[in-house]
């Protein structure tokens, strides 16, 4: 039925104005924007622009097309026509928010709250504005009020994000857990929670949640990479590679992904594939040259392959990008020692120890380097420090066999040297 052919009866003005609202609404809901705009224009002409709903819909369509400024103008026009309609005000505020004018948006939202009833959306959006304004306390307050009115996944996510921005991981974790209780099938929340656990070092819990998330959304690249990295940590390289293959289809240009794939090849236990590892890591570096850990990994691979000059280069670029990671300095020191630059090697060890005085591996390596360069006494000193640290940390289940071996060898060598 074409409504333009409807016979019109003489009606009073209000009904005339609203008589085609149903059709506009239908077109809008069907996403038939062209037809919708056409009808809106006709209606606007007929009423000299004094009809609220067509303006409102036109503004919505404008916003869908990304023309936020124009859309704001129309919403404001609609507000002028009916200043007490909360819907209009909410949309005005939303436009302001989308344009990045957060303070103005907050004002309008407060206006809304004066008129209307309790609405979670207003609280939620206000919270978002505060978040962008970096007024985190107010943001948290708003999000909590929003949740009091009505609970929503989106609010939980944002609340958790605020806590993460504040680096209050405990609270963030609590929020996410609450969110999971509320909607246990939201894969996004599951993934976020998994990543939280992962960054806190609780791999098993992280893996459980990531696995859960994958059950709901098996193709999410972020989740796959996170889950596979846990598998990789457990030395099951082939399974991890299988997972990465799925993710690679979705995000072929992700530096993190290629970095992990490279390290999978490097970590394959009986026969590491160094060439493949280097190729993957280089690709990762090509895609994201600012990622220090890729350079660090490349350095490790080259060090293992005894290509010390290249290893030095990668460690030094990694340090340039992230100057406060202790392990890089230690490996740089080892590389320098192998390149016969004893003095610089020592200063690198010292720098590493400065950054992380509790790391036993650095002390052991330092002692070995010192011993190799005939500084037996200093080596003895470092070795003692190492043994103290090592004993302290012996409860950890992951004591490396190779470390044990090196320790014993050095112990004997030092003992022999001191007897002389």
């Amino acid at each position: 039925m074409n409504p333009s052919h409807l016979t019109t009866h003489p009606l009073n003005n209000t009904t005339l104005r609203e008589r085609r609202n149903w059709y506009i609404h239908m077109c809008y809901v069907r996403q038939d924007y062209a037809e919708c705009l056409k009808v809106v224009e006709e209606e606007l002409q007929a009423c000299n622009g004094l009809c609220e709903y067509p303006i409102y819909v036109k503004a919505l369509i404008m916003r869908h097309q990304g023309k936020i400024k124009e859309s704001l103008k129309f919403f404001q026009a609609a507000t002028c026509l009916s200043p007490h309609n909360v819907l209009n005000l909410k949309q005005v505020a939303r436009c302001l928010f989308l344009l990045g004018k957060w303070l103005a948006a907050v004002d309008v939202y407060e206006e809304c709250q004066k008129i209307g009833f309790e609405d979670w959306e207003i609280w939620h959006n206000k919270g978002l504005c505060f978040m962008y304004l970096k007024d985190y306390d107010n943001a948290i307050d708003c999000f909590e009020r929003a949740n009091d009115v009505q609970r929503h996944d989106a609010t939980y996510m944002q609340l958790g994000k605020v806590y993460q921005l504040l680096e209050d991981f405990k609270m963030a974790l609590r929020v996410y857990k609450e969110a999971i209780d509320f909607s246990p099938q939201n894969s996004e929340i599951l993934t976020t929670l998994g990543l939280m656990y992962l960054s806190m070092g609780e791999n098993q819990k992280a893996f459980d949640h990531l696995g859960n998330s994958l059950a709901h959304d098996p193709l999410d690249a972020k989740t796959i990479v996170a889950a596979a990295s846990i598998i990789q940590d457990n030395q099951d390289m082939d399974v991890a590679l299988m997972k990465y293959r799925v993710a690679a289809v979705k995000t072929p240009n992700s530096a993190q992904l290629w970095n992990n794939i490279g390290m999978c090849f490097f970590g394959k236990s009986p026969q590491p594939k160094y060439v493949a590892a280097v190729a993957c890591l280089k690709k990762a570096l090509y895609l994201d040259p600012f990622e220090w850990i890729i350079s660090y990994n490349l350095g490790l691979v080259h060090l293992k392959k005894e290509q010390f000059a290249s290893a030095f280069h990668f460690f030094s670029s990694s340090i340039n990008l992230k100057p406060d990671f202790a392990a890089t300095y230690m490996y740089l020191a080892i590389t320098l020692a192998r390149l016969d630059d004893f003095d610089n090697s020592c200063s690198a060890y010292k720098k590493s120890i400065d950054l992380d005085p509790k790391d036993s591996t650095t002390r052991l390596n330092y002692a070995i380097t010192l011993y190799n360069n005939d500084e037996t006494e200093m080596a003895q000193e470092q070795f003692k420090l190492f043994e103290e640290l090592f004993r302290g940390g012996e409860d950890d289940e992951d004591v490396d066999e190779e470390m044990e071996l090196q320790k014993n060898m050095l112990k004997q060598a030092l003992a022999a040297a001191l007897e002389d």
């Binding site: 990304g66 400024k69 989308l98 344009l99 072929p252 240009n253 895609l287 600012f290 340090i319 990008l321």
Partner: protein
């Protein structure tokens, strides 16, 4: 002594020794005395022609008018892979391999013609900007021919042949003279209409059996833009005498008609008759390149090298392919070979430097760049500094990188890639306003790059200005429709705009 040498003999000798100017002067002097000396007339025409001769088999520059008003293409909505303006959707990835201003992946060899042709519709603005905005003027209608033609006219004092008064039928009766004359008309006078007249007379005289005249007819039609007639003549010329050059002419016609696959078939057929002819294979490789079919083009280039181990174009293209496919070591070998071949220019040293850097030969890399800088001219110095900047990023020396990009921009004010990278470095310094300005500059200079568009969109999104973010991400997706990150960002933006969240 000189005076005793016969003047016509001297002119002939000069023609053979390619001393065209002197030859022409000598001929003019003789012709002043005896204007009907056919030998001297022939020599003068040959000398004039050879002086301005353009290799017809080479690809040609396309003028602005041809790019904008090209309606010769057979299909207006060609299927992917069957047209130069709609090649296979990128078999290579923008993110891994940079593109030229026309949106095609970079090849290792800069050549005229379709390398400057846009993949999809081009605005007038873009067409007039030329290949590298600011550094080159756009080609005018007939490309290089007109320029050469007018230049030779200036040299000439007085008119040698008054084309309008020529009696074509008379000349057509003398095949030897006619052959010289037609070349003269095509290359010196650039008057294909008159040449066509002569050709049609001559081919009639020969009883429609001479491949030469049919080929020339084809060439004339080609120049007049009558591509279907040209095709007919050239096809029939091939039947009378299978000549390699005719194949190339016909191939050019097919490319004009935008049916590259037919051209490919034709060249393959030519390859059957003319085995071991590297020019045919390189023609095949070029067409594959235009169609973005890098796999097949690499194969063809390799075959070219088997027959002609010194082919610079093939080597450069293979080197570039290997470089972008994670084989900098192999690329390095090709570039070294190019160096041995005697190529010594900025671009080569620059590429050598990059290959060295990516294959971990750091000591060599910087000295290569130094050489590149020493040889650099104004139009490519920016590129070298840009790559030095990339090396700076690679070794984590961001201060060096920043300075190098700055220099690149100061040397070449239109170096969009440098602006984009400066923006990224600004981002790392948390200088968002400057970064946004840099991206915007890069975007206006090079609308064919998706990086500044995506970066700008992301920056705007993070700063909460969703309108600009949306506009930019839409543009980025026009340039690079498969860019995953852009697609994701757009999805997120749509979510915010529709207001479901």
């Amino acid at each position: 002594m000189r005076d005793e040498v016969d003047a016509s003999w001297l002119a002939l000798s000069r023609l053979r020794r390619r001393r065209f100017k002197q030859c022409i002067e000598g001929c003019s002097r003789i012709l002043n005395e005896s204007p009907y000396d056919q030998l001297v007339w022939t020599m003068k025409a040959r000398a004039l022609t050879t002086e301005v001769y353009v290799d017809e088999t080479e690809l040609e520059e396309e003028g602005v008018a041809e790019i904008l008003l090209d309606d010769n293409a057979i299909a207006s909505m060609p299927r992917p892979g069957t047209s130069l303006s709609n090649p296979k959707s990128s078999s290579s990835d923008h993110a891994l391999r940079p593109v030229s201003s026309s949106g095609r992946p970079m090849t290792g060899f800069s050549r005229p013609g379709s390398s400057s042709r846009p993949m999809s519709g081009m605005s007038v603005d873009q067409a007039f900007k030329g290949n590298r905005p600011g550094t080159s003027r756009p080609m005018t209608t007939l490309g290089r021919e007109v320029r050469l033609g007018t230049a030779s006219m200036v040299n000439q004092s007085g008119v040698f042949i008054d084309v309008e008064k020529l009696n074509m039928r008379k000349y057509a009766a003398r095949p030897a003279l006619a052959m010289v004359l037609v070349e003269y008309l095509l290359h010196v006078e650039v008057n294909p209409r008159k040449a066509l007249e002569l050709c049609s007379e001559a081919t009639q005289k020969e009883g429609f059996k001479s491949w030469f005249w049919k080929r020339k007819l084809g060439q004339c039609y080609y120049k007049l833009g009558l591509y279907r007639d040209a095709e007919k003549q050239l096809r029939s010329s091939l039947k009378d005498g299978e000549m390699l050059l005719t194949y190339f002419d016909l191939c050019k016609v097919y490319l004009k008609l935008d049916i590259p696959n037919t051209a490919l078939d034709l060249l393959k057929k030519a390859g059957e008759s003319f085995r071991e002819e590297s020019r045919v294979i390189i023609g095949i490789a070029r067409i594959y390149d235009m169609l973005n079919d890098l796999e097949n083009s690499s194969k063809a280039y390799k075959m070219v090298l088997e027959y002609d181990a010194g082919n610079i174009e093939a080597m450069a293209c293979l080197a570039a392919n290997h470089f972008y496919e994670d084989g900098p070591e192999v690329a390095l070998r090709y570039y070294r070979r190019l160096l041995q071949m005697g190529v010594n220019n900025t671009e080569l040293w620059n590429n050598l430097g990059l290959s060295c850097f990516h294959s971990s030969q750091f000591d060599m890399a910087l000295s290569c760049f130094e050489r590149a800088l020493a040889l650099a001219a104004d139009d490519n110095e920016g590129d070298v500094w840009y790559n030095i900047g990339l090396v700076g990023v690679g070794i984590g020396d961001l201060a060096l990188a920043y300075q190098a990009f700055k220099i690149a921009v100061s040397v070449d004010g239109n170096h969009a890639e440098s602006y984009c990278n400066l923006g990224v470095l600004d981002l790392r310094k948390n200088d968002f306003d400057s970064a946004a300005a840099m991206f915007a500059t890069a975007k206006s200079l090079a609308p064919f790059l998706f990086e500044p568009l995506y970066n700008l969109a992301l920056l705007m999104f993070k700063r909460g200005n969703l309108e600009e973010a949306y506009d930019n991400v839409k543009e980025a997706l026009v340039v690079f429709p498969e860019h995953r990150e852009s697609l994701e960002l757009k999805k997120e933006l749509m979510g915010s705009l529709v207001g479901l969240r």
